[in-house]
Amino acid sequence: MTWSSERLSSLVRHDAVDRQVYTDPELFALEMERIWGRAWVYIGHESQIPEPGSFFTTELARQPVLLVRQDKDTYHLFFNRCAHKGAKVVELESGRAPMLRCGYHGWTYRTDGVCHHITGGDAAYRALGLDKGSPCMNLSTVPRAESYRGFVFASLTPDAPDLATWLGPTAASIDNMIDRSPEGRLEVAGGALRYHHDSNWKFFMENLNDMMHAMIAHESSAHAARQLGKKMLARGGALPPEIQILAPFAEDPDFFEKMGVHAFANGHSYSGGKTSIHASYSGIPEYEAALERAHGKERMDEILSLNRHNTVVYPSFTCKGAIQTIRVVKPVAVDETIIESWTFRLVGAPDELLQRSILYCNLINSSANLVGPDDREAYHRLQQGLQAQGERWVSNARYVDAEEPNEEGGRSATGSSDMVFRNQFEAWRRYMTADTASGG
């Protein structure tokens, strides 16, 4: 039985989805083709390729791709695949080289992807009128690659809409992260963490704006932190950043209801805004001074008062402006996903900020952290529980009636609403059933 558009449509109800969207390998393969092959997928940040010849390799819909800087103003995203016999040309995750050299037969390519050297000579291809520079002798380019203020996304679909339009109001979350730099610039810094999950990628994407799980799933660590925090305050001490980071996970449901959730076109969303679990981190005077110098008091307050929790750019990207960290989704199989986390330096800001971001990632995003393992376990139990055929539908019914338009052109709802999940599956259905590639 093949997956007709009708059959695919029938998997998504406004208030629920069929459990198979999380468990069926064929649907996963279709997702790679129709969602990950049509949407804009995050590739990396321009600061990862600072110099001419700097390169960075990653996957796009499970295909190897290669981001290379040609010169100050130009860089390219290629399929990481040699034009000769198809070997992965660049194996290292990142580096810098004047030419890209394939290790198998030594073909080399310029940073603009044009073939530069053919071992054994070029004459061999003359008969077909081919030579270095003939399209099929060069690295092939990914159909679309665009940057939004340094954040590079790509699409396998030539007629994808322009990136900024597609990002919609979530672009403001990226803006806010950048605006927090006194110089308005970010740099990837502090390394990456890669965390293996034995579950479907969508569980992670939903969890990000799931406002009802923190105080339950993360109770053990957050309560321990709160108790230790109380003792410290009692002793007249201040709360160290570790406690400031962990304690808010145990805020009561009301706190999270108030944070609220906000949904937009293409499955995007964010939670928080006026407040979030990052809102009460103690300020860093030296930093605020720098920011005020750069923007003036009013603008600074505006920037720092924007407190979005997680912003989700469906299906591959999520960021936290308040602590300058992003996470990237890499689906491997229907029940296997890799989550990468990256931290950024706010150029012009004191090191404390990067160090706080790094501390945050150690505590929340590393494989050995104090919070993530409980999320990972939750996804694992979802993957297992949904093997049960007793109930076809997975509920997205919370506050199905209580969504309101917001001034950003999306809809807003109380924190515990399933609106964000409904919104993701509206996009899911559109991507999966669109016949044209205009998935965006």
Partner: protein
């Protein structure tokens, strides 16, 4: 002048420390550290410090307290079912001993199996213990664990190496 500790005493101390982890005697284990004692698992090779680069774990007394409090919590989903470990410690070498401070730097290698819910993970690496001499025994000022696969895509790690 203080004499360097005997290798066997260092070995027995490392074995004791590992055993406290395997037997989940967390309070005793935590007490092996000095007040400023650190436990560090870098996320890359030759990582210069834990402040300016992410780590798999970088814990001072405060974070150890959080984790040790978390372990027995009934609602810690990822710890129910309980994960178990076995540490095999070997290749114990005394890299240096400072007679003045009586601080020993000890290098060893380990294999640790972490088991939970029918899945067993194999971890291995090199450990550096910075030990203060205390009476007949030692206290840990720094335990740095360099995993051979520190930069791999790893699942949850829930027990100290």
């Amino acid at each position: 002048m203080a004499m360097a500790p005997a290798l066997q005493d260092l070995e027995q101390f490392l074995f004791h420390e590992a055993r406290l982890i395997d037997e989940k005697r967390w309070d005793e284990w935590g007490a092996l550290f000095t007040e400023d004692g650190e436990y560090w698992v870098p996320a890359t090779r030759g990582q210069p410090d834990a402040k300016n680069h992410v780590s798999l774990m970088y814990e001072t007394a405060l974070l150890r307290d959080v984790r040790l409090k978390r372990y027995p919590h009934p609602n810690a989903m990822s710890l129910q079912p309980v994960p178990y470990s076995v540490h095999v410690i070997s290749n114990v070498m005394l890299d240096s001993f400072d007679a003045a401070t009586r601080i020993s730097v000890v290098n060893s290698r380990f294999i640790m199996l972490e088991y939970r819910r029918n899945e067993q993970q194999t971890y291995g690496g090199a450990t550096t213990h910075v030990l203060e001499t205390e009476g007949e025994s030692f206290r840990i000022r720094m335990k740095k664990v360099e995993l051979v696969n520190c930069d791999a895509v790893l699942p949850s790690i829930q027990i100290y190496f």
